[in-house]
Amino acid sequence: MAATRYTSMAYASADEMSFGVSKHPVKAGLGLEIGAGYTIPEINYAPRPEAGASKEKLIKEYERITTDVMSRMVQVGFPAIILETEHVQQMSNNPSWGAEVAHAQKTIMEEYHDEYGIKCALRHTIGDIRENREFPQLRGDKYAVFLEAFEQCAKSGADLLSVESMGGKEVFDHAVLRNDIPGMLYSIGCLGSMDMEMIWSDIAAIAKKTGTVAAGDTDCAQANTAMFIGGGLLDKNLAHTLAIIARAISAPRSLVAYECGAVGPGKDCGYENIIVKAITGMPMTQEGKTSTCAHSDVMGNLIMQCCDCWSNESVEYHGEFGGTTVQCWSENLAYDCALMNTALETKNEKVLRDLFMLSDRYRDPQSYVLAYDNAYKVGQAIVKDGNDIYLRAKNAAIECCDIVSEGAAGKLALSRFETKALADAKASLDSLTDDMDKFMDDCLTKYKSEVKVFLPENYGL
């Protein structure tokens, strides 16, 4: 299907948004309704390194993981859980492997659902395997295998289909290490969005055919790369004011999934999902303080503010004092959800939302822009030119700069370095054309020359 662009916001105001409630709840799996008035823990895990040695070992590993999670949820009395299996490359390169894992997991989940009534769903996140050793290969043979992996998993037990797609990453990796704002705009906003339109039209068709849910994508490959390179307050690898510009640009890119038939819940590591929720009204998974097992961030509480599912990003499966890692982390997630659900049931959700938000609001320019009131403003800037993928990405970047500047005039403290990086970025954005065709032509010439692994044919250019 062609993309149906968003040109208006789902919510009349930022204050309408809350955790656990979305405009368009999604029914999935075994009795779940997502974004329908309660939050749901979503546990994510990675097999131990040696488990990838064979299909049999992998399946056994995921059976252990699934049983551990389901049993812990029942033992502590939690009513709902989502399991997310992010494919290791073997499972997507060999679609039957992923399918057999999905089947094995779902069989266990059905047993628990039948015996205890626990509501649950299984998300499978297919690996973006569309690369060969030398170049991305977004179209062609690899793409066929990629889609086959979705279809086989959907037919074998996966309820929610997701991916962290990589379109534009080869240009982004070059640009982000050179403070190149036009390059970030081109890679995420243009190339990323174009690739998203292709893949999500096809994934949504598979979901429709198999009766599963096209759940959504995340700009992990780019915006999270910027966030991770940015690191903590004392790291010197990327100004956080640039990392949040990459994040703002990623929102219109991740939005494309929903314009092509995805319905949520958006995937956990999309910190841009708060902006996407404001635009679409669809449920979103988020991760923050509970993903410290995988990475650090500077908005661990804030990002819970409007989540519908609450995730831990990923944890390697192994033993801890309190059980296996998936048991420990799923219990953590479920207790957080119990608190949010208590707030919802007692009509205190806006108070708790604001406490989450405020505790991190001024911690960093990234958290400041993703505070729900500011995220809503970025959303408005996107839908203002919703039909032009370049212009809406540029709008998001400019709005992001303006929000940070306004914050810096108040209680958001910036270092001189962050301030200069922001000013340079804003000047770079202000110098750009509003004409998408001209921008695309200029960038095509520039990055074909500068990035040897950038093949325009990957994007139909």
């Binding site: 040696e50 990838g52 990796d173 403070n179 004392l234 010197k236 690898n237 990327l238 390697e316």
Partner: protein
Amino acid sequence: MLDFTEASLKKILTRYNVALEKEMTPEEAAEELYPKDEFVYPIAKAIFEGEEDDVIEGLQAAMDAGQNPITLIDDALMVGMGVVTKLYDDGVIFLPNVMMSADAMLNGIEFCKENSETAPVTKGTVVCHVAEGDVHDIGKNIVTALLRANGYDVVDLGRDVPVDEVVASVIANKPLMVTGTALMTTTMYAFKEVNDKLVEKGLKVPFACGGGAVNQDFVSQYALGVYGEEAADAPKIADAIIAGTNNIAALRDKFHKH
């Protein structure tokens, strides 16, 4: 919407990067470090600023004045890059500045080579790769840039590199160190296979590993493994090796932080 007073905000969080910011601007700090030689100064400054055309212009001027192109690599390009890496290590400038400077320096080295019949001498060779099955190479790209910026010759095997290809490259290039990066827990298992094959062939070369899900505990499990938490550790480990610390236990003692 809830909000803080300035006083209450200070009880909740501290922006340490703002509180501890250096007084001097990066440009002022660099100016203090540039050599004063009339030919070297503009080249070093152009390296710091990442201006490739200005680097070439400066080199051309020095060559026109009779300076040896290969000598200029060490005496001008590496000196300029030394300013950049020192300011990065001191926390005055950020990684993108280093990357842009490294681009300009490498461009300058190529220009010098084109204008000379002799080859430059480097500090040593390092073989770099991304683990088999893993295509995430931004970490490796940072490592290779930082190694080159510090005067090392890099054999970049790229991403998703088969174990046997890494071993063959070690045999062919006799590096002082091998680096491996990986994002995922399942692909990093290839490091152990690389290690085992190197050990089997009697190649006791330090194998510096890092990236995404890689951690010190995992890297410590194989004989040649040295964990690098940051990309910037790679040239430091290489420097330690050429300074005489080539025993794995000693390297671990120096670089394992946890």
